[in-house]
Amino acid sequence: MNTRRWYPVLLPAALFLIVFFVWPEVQFLRLSFEEYQGQARSGGGPTLRNYTDVLSDPFLRKGILTTLRLSAIVAVITALVSYPLAIAIVRAGPRLARAMFVIVVSSMFMSGVVRALGWRVLLGDSGMVNDVLLALHVVDTPVTLYGSFTGVTIGMVHLLIPYAVLGIIPIVESVSPQLLQASYGMGASRPYTFFRVTLPITARGLIAPLLLVFALTAGAFTTPTLLGGGRVGVLSIYIREQTLMLLNYPRGAVYAAILLVLVFAVFLAGFLASGRRARRAKRRGPAATEVTP
Amino acid sequence: MTDLELRGITHRYGTNVAVRNVDLAVRSGEFVTILGTSGSGKTTLLRMIGGYLFPSEGRVVVGGRDVTRLPPQQRNIGTVFQNYALFPHMSVFDNVAYGLRVRRMSRAAVRERVGETLATVGLTGFEKRLPHELSGGQQQRVALARAISIQPSILLMDEPLGALDARLRESIQLEIKRVQRTLKITTIYVTHDQNEAFAMSDRIVLMSHGDIVSVDTPEALFMSPPTPFAAEFVGHCAVPVRVVRWNGRAGQVLVPGHEVEVTAVGPTPEADKPCYLVIAPDKVRVTEAPGTTGGVAAQLRGRVVGRRFTGLNVVLTIDLGDGGRLTALDPERRFRDDDVVHVGWNGDDAKVLQP
């Protein structure tokens, strides 16, 4: 096949992406440098005013910090709880594994709105979670979960566990059962094998799912809206508020740009981390990258 | 008449030369095997004949037509791939019919031709099976049937028996040979297995590092390999030696670690190249004590360092010291590992070759 003949094959998809993805992104970034001239109107510029406004005012800035904090906490918790689930699915017998897999993935199939509505009932002041906590005397008075940072965190972790589990399963699969048997065969206990064999081999692989969860949380809209009760202001909520309610298009664009940069930085970090790993593997020679015998 | 002609074929991947300036002419109906280790360029050469790769230099001529720049679909060359490459989503019938349907043959003609072809390879009755429902040998025969169904001008086979076990391999060798002779189809066969090459070929093209080492009949290649590499490849031993004196077609050499001069034949060696003494294992005489048996003097002392029982014979590896190693046969099974032996040979059977 001739080199030039391939480009037309790419053309339809490329054109579609350029018109409806690249161009609008460029447009909205330009908008973030325009002057706000009253509701739904903007023009002039370019000016950095919109950015300095947002970054200098603690109240307007808060959304950035809340988003960062939420994403970091959700990413760590999700990775930690998804790891044992992935191990269980990989190591269990075929029928049990399949059942667990269906449970994990089917919760992924449920619309995020529906899941948040479910949590809203459970997390209310007189909801089941508080009933259990009171009955166990963990707390004396109901904890505010719905409409709090904690509530959003719970909902986000629940939302993203399936993504993390799907990402971790192949990494756990790369530790061959023969490796574990070799360890058991030499008399090592299960916990010893876990900490000295499974964990060291898979630990690096957790970085990618962790960053993915971070990025997905940063951009999430449904769960913070439904479980935050208007009190957990993350960037996506600010974007909606500024753009659709206050009609301050330039400021909405500023928040979107900040979110974009944030998520891009996370993906860049992931790319660099995986690149360094690949380079190191290359230096060590091909044997080092091969985990299964 | 010549069916396939390669003229000065070269293939480079970047700076790496996979095939270097290869010339070859194959007669109609001939069975030619390209023999070589992995990395010798044999598969690259085959792919250039099939049109799956284009040569960097040179021409490919099939039946008098220059096809160098033609894509595979315009060459009418049948290929049996190493892993068979059977379409997994199609039945045996559809696999074999594929090339015929592409040629817009009528339904009835397709059915007739597929029937004939499957009969040729002995797979009548398997039409409806899917490839994964067949054994390795059956898959191999479907691949052969698919390749010959289009009545190709040339049949290419790339290590077609690599995935089969040894026993099956022999019977399929005979099968392929039978089909090839019945159809009188010009065949280029690629393998790394010299026994396979000996068993099937009219001529063998021996390749090494992208070069053709020799083109000859199996008998000639075995009897008089042209280089030490070819000699070792067909199972001879090649012992590094030092030439003491040479006189036309014969001379005396010293085997390292030994004082005794031995006779060898061959063209006059060039002074600046290393010399190897090459001899077929069945020509090496092995005795316990130094002496003469059947007119051959066994003078060189050595030690048995390897003993391999092959069923019909025992193959000994004998260390002569200083890196010289010989392979010899021991049909009477007289020797064991670590036995001290003496070896010798008829001067006419030992050749001095240079790389």
Partner: protein, 292 residues
């Protein structure tokens, strides 16, 4: 953990190998039980809100869990606009999936099999929408549609406008699934087809495409779900009266919770569950969801 199992002391050539102690067997049991409990608790955590949604739907008047008074009243109270929203969501998801596939298929073939310069950069370009949060994409398209309005292109609030957003949303998912699959196809199969006389188009149609079928189904399935679940893009591209189902549920819940809301949610849960089970039955969920 190093106390659990020390390397056997080396005493010259004859090292004494210590057999595993009984305490290590007990440790194993505790470890396994602890692990099992954690996994079971996590599975319960995953299932909880789904069960809650379904049971809450059977409340008669209040939204409470466990339900106060059992009734099917809430299902009868689901207003017609909810089903209109459901129908809109299904149409958009299905069409967006099909269009994204039609765009992604040729691109996939070119990106995997094509010989061209800058392939890595092109690949990164085609996957880039995945790195932009949907809410940002929604905002950007919203602003584009506003900008296009004076030019007589009325995409804002239209079905086409919404569809375009969803095609962009699902395109990278479909592309990734297809890329993985095509790269896994043995190139010899395509070469065999060429050798038998078939050209590029025929080979793609008769060999490559059929071999991609499982990936196409998986990709389509995933894309449908992603689109069906979306609120971020639809938020900007629909109006409150004519929103997709997830958004309609979101808007309604922002007003007040009612059992009707949970009845509709329960319908969606059952719809998705049936879809998941059908896929699991026919293709095996695991093969569909895990990438090559």
């Amino acid at each position: 953990m190093t106390t659990v199992m020390q390397a056997p002391p080396a005493t010259g050539d004859t090292a004494v190998v210590v057999p595993p102690s009984r305490s290590s067997a007990r440790l194993d049991r505790i470890w396994r039980i602890g692990f099992g409990v954690i996994v079971a608790a996590l599975l319960l955590f995953l299932l909880a809100p789904l069960v809650v949604v379904i049971l809450t739907a059977f409340n008669d008047r209040l939204v409470a869990f466990p339900p106060q008074g059992w009734s099917l009243e809430s299902f009868r109270n689901v207003p017609g606009y909810m089903f209109e929203a459901l129908w809109l969501s299904v149409r958009v998801a299905a069409l967006a999936t099909v269009i994204a596939m039609l765009l992604a298929f040729p691109a996939t073939i070119a990106l995997v099999r094509g010989e061209m310069r800058g392939k890595a950069a092109l690949l990164a370009f085609f996957q880039s929408p995945l790195q932009v949060p949907a809410i940002v994409q929604g905002l950007a398209l919203y602003q584009l549609y506003i900008a296009l309005n004076p030019w007589g292109v009325a995409l804002r609030g239209s079905f086409t406008g919404l569809l375009i957003g969803h095609v962009i949303l699902v395109f990278p998912f479909i592309l990734n699934a297809m890329l993985g699959r095509v790269a896994a196809i043995d190139t010899n199969l395509e070469l065999a087809s060429y050798g038998l006389g078939a050209g590029f188009l025929r080979t793609t149609w008769l060999v490559t495409l059929p071999l991609m079928r499982p990936a196409l189904i998986a990709a389509g399935f995933l894309a449908f779900l992603v689109s069906f679940d979306d609120t971020s893009i639809s938020l900007f591209l629909t109006q409150v009266g004519g929103a997709t189902l997830p958004l309609t549920l979101l808007y309604t819940s922002e007003q007040a919770l009612s059992p009707m809301l949970y009845a509709m949610s329960a319908i969606v849960v059952v719809f998705s569950l049936v879809l998941a089970l059908v896929v699991d039955r026919v293709f095996g969920l695991r093969t569909v969801m895990s990438r090559d």
